[in-house]
């Protein structure tokens, strides 16, 4: 009945390969977060803009990113764009898909944070002779990042976990991709995926720790 014998030693031999994959996973997650944050700030500004030409596309982005499966978003970046003759490699497609998703979620996080910053802060900046963009960049944005710091780190963890969807578009070099390939060769399914799960867990925890350190260093007030 239960004839699966654990062979941890054999699986352990693959650990170095898997760690390489973990690094790729972390890389994609970090890049997708950076890109996501930049776009999210622009989306947040656009969504509250007076111009419908800015508001409408930004709203559409956010609605799609938040209300469709992340898997579809990554699929679209690879196969969907492929149908229009735009070919993104699995790596780029995965990165683009996750960044798209991050931007949508973080936009709403940032907008919530912006609501919490009194209008008088902007007035004070403008009355000192600073321009609108300058005031936003120097006075509003730093406060926005602080208020939204915790939800942003949550999105970072979410981004790490989303990278595992890359296998569906042929991603072979991240943690899941490598684990999948090793599994196909060795059939040590339980051991390999258990190890991968532990690695995901550790990456997520490490990132949270790093985030806390950054927050402690950055937000002294």
């Amino acid at each position: 009945m239960f004839d699966y014998t654990f062979q941890w030693r054999q699986a352990y031999r693959h650990l170095p390969r898997m760690l390489e994959g973990a690094l790729v996973t972390l890389e994609i997650a970090v890049l997708s977060l950076i890109i996501g944050i930049v776009i999210a700030v622009l989306l947040a500004v656009a969504r509250d803009s007076k111009s419908i030409w800015l508001r409408a596309p930004a709203t559409a982005w956010v609605e799609v990113a938040r209300n469709t499966p992340a898997l579809f978003q990554i699929y679209m970046a690879h196969f969907g764009l492929g149908s229009f003759g735009i070919y993104l490699s699995p790596y780029v497609a995965l990165l683009a898909g996750i960044a798209f998703n991050n931007a949508g979620y973080l936009c709403e996080t940032f907008r919530g944070a912006l609501r919490a910053i009194p209008e008088t802060q902007t007035r004070a900046g403008r009355s000192l002779g600073m321009g609108q963009a300058q005031t936003f960049r120097l006075i509003v944005m730093p406060q926005m990042f602080r208020i939204s710091f915790l939800p942003t780190t949550n999105q970072m963890v979410w981004a790490i976990l989303m990278t595992s969807l890359g296998v569906t578009v042929g991603m072979a070099t991240d943690l899941t991709g490598i684990t999948q390939n090793l599994n196909a060769r060795t059939f040590r399914t339980f051991e390999l995926f258990a190890m991968a799960a532990v690695l995901y867990y550790l990456i997520a925890k490490a990132v949270m720790l790093a985030a806390r350190l950054i927050a402690w260093r950055l937000f002294r007030y």
Binding site: G129, Q143, Y221
Partner: protein, 240 residues
């Protein structure tokens, strides 16, 4: 010189300023008193172009604040404003609060800006708080920091909007003393205030605002001693 000529201002259907005329000469201190909602704050925000006006005009040294061709960011360097809420930038230390605009707007180096900031902060009695974040300051200290922040731009005019109204009564004195000091140094000031003693002692003229109109203006002795307008009389008898 600040020249306010027949200024009308409304928020949607609400008429807030209904033809305000007021001229403030260099070196003059004018206090504006009046009931809440009468449009005092709105007038100040119109003077430095934070709010547009519907008609009339406001000239600062001859420059029309609301003309399309006016560079407001440049004009605002000349006109400092301090609000009722202290509006400290919470993410910056006291020193950085004050150096930010000189550096980013006037293009000063950090060293230059810090020299000026330290001077201004010493001026308002905050020389020992340079590296502190505003959350560690009392309301009175935050308000004095806001004054130093505005002064660091070397403005020629200062607008004060009820700068003591949000303060603990015990802290009002220190901020009023700072304003008094500025007035004695010859700063041109328009002070919206509820502090009648301050208005009487410090200003050359006192203006009484009522429902968007400058109902009465004159030297403090006249306004407080022998007010002409019935609304001024009513207001002052309620204040006392």
């Amino acid at each position: 010189m600040i020249e306010i000529e027949k200024v009308y201002k409304s928020f949607g259907k609400l008429d807030v300023l209904k033809g305000v005329d007021l001229t403030v000469a260099r070196g003059e201190v004018v206090s504006i008193i009046g009931g809440s909602g009468s449009g005092k704050s709105t007038l100040l925000t119109c003077i430095n172009g934070l709010e547009p006006i519907q008609s009339g005009r406001i000239l600062i040294d001859g420059t029309d604040v609301h003309a399309r061709s006016t560079d407001l960011n440049k004009l605002r360097r000349k006109v400092g404003i301090v609000f009722q809420q202290f509006n400290a930038f919470p993410h910056l230390t006291v020193l950085d609060n004050v150096t930010l605009a000189p550096r980013k707007v006037l293009g000063m180096s950090r060293a230059e800006a810090e020299e000026i900031a330290v001077k201004q902060l010493r001026h308002v009695g905050l020389a020992d708080k340079l590296k502190v974040y505003p959350s560690r300051l009392s309301g009175g200290q935050q308000q004095r920091m806001a004054i130093a922040r505005a002064l660091a731009m070397s403005p020629q005019y200062m607008l004060f909007d009820e700068v003591t109204s949000a303060l603990d009564p015990l802290l009002v004195g220190e901020v009023l003393d700072t304003l008094k000091m500025l007035a004695e140094e010859g700063m041109t000031m328009i002070c919206v205030t509820h502090e009648m003693t301050f208005a009487r002692d410090v200003s050359q003229r006192v203006a009484f605002f009522h429902q968007g109109i400058l109902a009465e203006i004159g030297p403090p002795d006249q306004i407080f001693g022998a007010p002409q307008h019935p609304e001024t009389q009513k207001f002052l008898s309620n204040v006392r």
